[in-house]
Amino acid sequence: MNSFGNITAITKRELGGYFSSPVAYIFIVIFLLLTGTFTFLFGGFFERGQANLEAFFLWHPWLYLFLVPAVGMRLWAEERRSGTIELLLTMPITAWQAILGKFLASWAFIGLALVLTFPVFITVNYLGTPDNGVIWATYLGSFLMAGSYLAISSLTSALTRNQVVSLILSVVICLLLVLCGFQPLTDFLAARFSPAVVDTVASFSFLTHFMSFTKGVVDSRDVIFYLSIMVFSLFTTSVIIRSHRAG
């Protein structure tokens, strides 16, 4: 109960922090513009002549690659730069509550950005009769994938007091995790290694696990994959934060 209260207080503050600067609004606008552009221009949403949102979701792993680390980069880097981490961690709360509270705030922020893409959903329903089950499943997959990107950003943010360094690090890590399931790369690997190796590498990819969601399948293995990335990254965040203080 107490820990719930602490987490809520931190989440609330962090969300407030996002919206107290224009950055949050700029981010949302950019996110919506980019998803719109990619869906309708490059995704060929209309040309496909299909009542689904494949053209929309197709771009999410790539858009997240830059946008999500930008949301997560301040989580701990800013606390360390300004020294407020000393205030936060001498409060009667655990480091876990702080890590979780902050993570949930950034995740909720991305969630809000996702919710604001509802015009695409309305459009496709207006133009045709899509399988909305598939759309909901993909939204869920996208949200889980964003959480994984964020947890990794939380980790890199704890590594440094410089937000830009944090951003670059998390983009690189996330890029690796996307690429290891990217078709050209898996083809390349398949020509050289046994299928088992290729599958193992691909099984670490954000892309691979996102694919089944886009087909409307909510497989527990995919959900568990994203959740374990989050748990692992947040756990590592706590280890990093502890090691800083240990000197």
Binding site: S20, A246, G247
Partner: protein, 327 residues
Amino acid sequence: MLVSYQTFMIRVENLSKAFGPKVAVNRISFSVEKGEVLGFLGPNGAGKSTSMRMITGFIPPSEGKITVGGYDMVADPIPAKRLIGYLPENAPSYADMTVSGFLGFCAELRGLRGDEKKKAVNRAVEMCFLESVYYQSVDTLSKGYRHRTCFAQSIIHDPDILILDEPTDGLDPNQKHEIRSLIRRMGEKKVIIFSTHILEEVEAVCSRAIIIDRGQIVANGTPQELKQKSDLAGAVLLCASGVTAAEVTDRLANVSGARKTTIVKQDQGKIWARVYPKSESRNGELARAVHQAVQGWAIEELHTEEGRLDEVFRNITLPDTAKEETK
């Protein structure tokens, strides 16, 4: 029984902290009781902040034990942290929040909600004179106000223990005075530890002072006791007019109980001389002896000196340059 158990609010035993090969704090031990205002004195880099960070649970000690209100800070940090209010060095606060938002957030982390929270925030705002900036964003505040906002945060839950790292650093004289009187007022009912390198501050507010140098405690006592360590303590200062320096040294050379005499200064026909005592006796004997010896002179001033803290400080802590050499 419970009373005796609770007299020591903070107990530190053999506390050490090493950052890699560098030992920042080296086996310090002390305890603080309720009603004490303890000054942490020491030159820059002595290890004051590091000690405070360990006591408040921000960094774990490399060695040693910290007990706060009976709770072990390492094994049982949450209840220990509840008892403490902490003002870190440089008074950090969330720049993107308003004063009211920031204090409300801190109150929530202290477990206060609803009416309790509102009351706590109002009380802290009143005590730290923040009414005029209540709805202002922290990053638009002047340094003094930002400092007081963080100070307000530390007292928001009316803690039994206050730990303040250089609470008057960078403030103007009026603000310094305000903070000092606040500390003095609250010190009657709480345990306060505050660090400083300003000596007058120690005399003004502390009931006890610990001097730290290179990670070790080099002195621990009331400001009075520390001053006694001064060379000057017990010396008699004499000011006379119409006499020459030679006459003064001559006359004072034979005073009983005097070790030596120095001329402090000469100005507009007046002459100041200091007579150092041989022993520790200080019931005014030396002053009487001096008075006897100089009968007939026009005496402007004659008193026994208490000793000066800055002199003690200089004598027992090494200056920065000497420190570099010992490295």
